[in-house]
């Protein structure tokens, strides 16, 4: 371990696992990133060992291999330990006494931690770019099921792309047969639309938290209360986002009378949009009579839509994991705020967390139209 000393003191010998003594300057060579990277690798390796699929001649077989759970848990434990070291060394640092600055071009004079969060966001950008390029490649390379049907070339067993928007923005087959009262938009779009607004509002509340933390006109108690309130609101909106995500994927919702519900939105799972939907039942009605398909007008096909489903769940799931990560940090920040941890001279952690949170919002700006609407 070494320091960029602002006191010219290079004789301190800190523990490699922290906590850092920031009074000696900016520390280098933390073990935390190595531990977290190693933990992530083990966790992801375990993920592929636990959830398996095998081809059995005529169909895919899916299984959960519980014997490999140890690998998952070990990876998670190493990652958590790395996170703990990271927290001990850096998160607990307030930056009041000494805020280390970058010395190299092109970031000279900018806070090192600000540069670091931008570097982190760049790597995150690459992660989501790879997911988006995968989506674009498959979306452009695999024929659209609805287009194949319109062209009269859809047959049983066809591998085609049935986008998530078919189930969400169009409402899927169930929307056609439901008696829901809302006619303006498919009910299945409601959770995603609410989530979009929730993320935008949460981006604003985090900005308000920072503005309030820097407001010198407020008394300490009033500032603590307001900053805590804004951060708590952000946390609640993030929680709402994940709850609606789970509702959309697994639960679905129905309000009002079962035969004539006010809202009716089946889950994607109930609709059959799953990562192993190799024999999805695709139905098309050529003539409707009061939410019922006229006799002899129903066409049914068994098609393989796994690629569309996998791409959707991996991308939106990765985004959801980022929201969850933000929630973990927000819990810590809310407690810190109510304890008076943020003052006009010490609000950088809200600022840096805000950069991450806005990035999560920015990704959703792309995910929502690409996966939910189009």
């Amino acid at each position: 371990m070494s320091y960029d000393s602002h006191h010219g003191d290079h004789h301190d010998h800190p523990s490699p696992f922290g906590p850092h003594d920031w009074s000696h300057g900016a520390p280098h060579n933390s073990w935390a990133p190595i531990m977290m990277a190693f933990g992530s690798s083990i966790f992801l390796l375990g993920f592929t060992k636990v959830f398996t699929q095998t081809w059995e001649g005529d169909a895919w077989s899916y299984a959960i291999n519980s014997a490999q759970f140890g690998l998952l848990i070990a990876g998670l434990a190493i990652f958590t330990a790395g996170l703990y070291v990271f927290w001990r060394q850096d998160w607990s640092f307030d930056g009041i006494e000494f805020e280390p600055k970058s010395v190299g071009t092109p970031f000279r004079g900018i806070d090192i931690r600000k540069v670091a969060i931008w570097m982190f966001l760049m790597s995150e950008m690459m992660v989501f770019s790879s997911l988006f390029s995968t989506y674009l490649r498959y979306r452009t390379g695999i024929d659209n099921c609805e287009a194949l049907h319109a062209a009269g070339t859809l047959t049983d067993g066809t591998v085609c792309w049935l986008p998530a928007s078919y189930f969400i923005a169009e409402g899927g087959w169930h929307q056609e047969t439901a008696h829901a009262a809302l006619k303006f938009m498919p009910d299945t779009l409601i959770p995603g639309a609410i989530n979009t607004f929730a993320l935008i509002v949460s981006s604003y509340t985090i900005v308000l938290a920072l503005k309030t933390a820097k407001d010198r006109s407020l008394s300490d108690s009033e500032r603590n209360r307001k900053v805590g309130k804004y951060l708590l609101t952000t946390l609640l909106l993030a929680t709402l986002f994940l709850i609606f995500k789970l509702v959309e994927w697994f639960v679905g919702f129905e309000l009002g009378d079962h035969d004539h519900p006010l809202f009716y939105s089946p889950s994607l799972l109930a609709d059959g949009f799953t990562i192993h939907a190799s024999d999805y039942t695709y139905q098309v009605c050529n003539e409707w009579h009061d939410h019922h398909c006229a006799e002899g007008q129903l066409e049914t096909y068994t098609i393989d839509i796994r690629m569309a489903a996998s791409t959707f769940y991996v991308t939106t799931g990765t985004h959801g994991v980022h929201v969850f990560g933000g929630m973990v940090a927000l819990v810590y920040m809310v407690i810190k705020a109510y304890r008076g941890g943020y003052t006009p001279d010490n609000a950088v952690s809200i600022e840096y967390f805000g950069l991450y949170w806005h990035f999560v919002d920015l990704v959703w700006v792309l995910v929502f139209p690409a996966f939910y609407l189009y």
């Binding site: 600000k114 490649r137 498919p186 607004f197 900005v207 806005h358 139209p369 609407l373």
Partner: protein
């Protein structure tokens, strides 16, 4: 999000202004799609795609420039350049998508196909 960014836009607090722009543009996005699928024929799919891309650009710029302070701070320019650096790789990825698309390969001119120059 920085220390120097508290300005106004059209007389409004810039953060509040940006927030309402994002809310309104999201509403436009959702309404356009909802109209397309609930009242077929009102908005064509091409129009929807145009609206989605245009709204996405406006929202993305609003979040990055104002909420993330890539505009207005002393360090905004260098951080914007930093943020745009991965775009180079993203362009490469998108190019590969185009080049590996079956249609793209099928329509390549002869001079661009293996064996044309008899180099084997």
């Amino acid at each position: 999000m920085g220390e120097h960014g508290h300005h106004t836009i059209l007389g409004f607090d810039r953060y509040a202004f940006n927030f309402w722009v994002l809310m309104i543009f999201t509403a436009i996005e959702v309404v356009a799609v909802a109209l397309t699928f609930s009242m077929e024929g009102t908005v064509s799919m091409n129009t929807v795609v145009f609206i989605l891309v245009a709204v996405g650009v406006v929202k993305g710029v609003g979040i990055a420039a104002i909420f993330m302070h890539l505009q207005g701070d002393p360090d905004s320019r260098v951080l914007t350049a930093t943020a745009l650096f991965p775009v180079f790789f993203i362009v490469i990825m998108v190019l590969f998508i185009g080049l590996t698309h079956p249609d793209a390969a099928d329509t390549l001119p002869d001079w661009c196909r293996p064996g044309f120059y008899n180099l084997e």
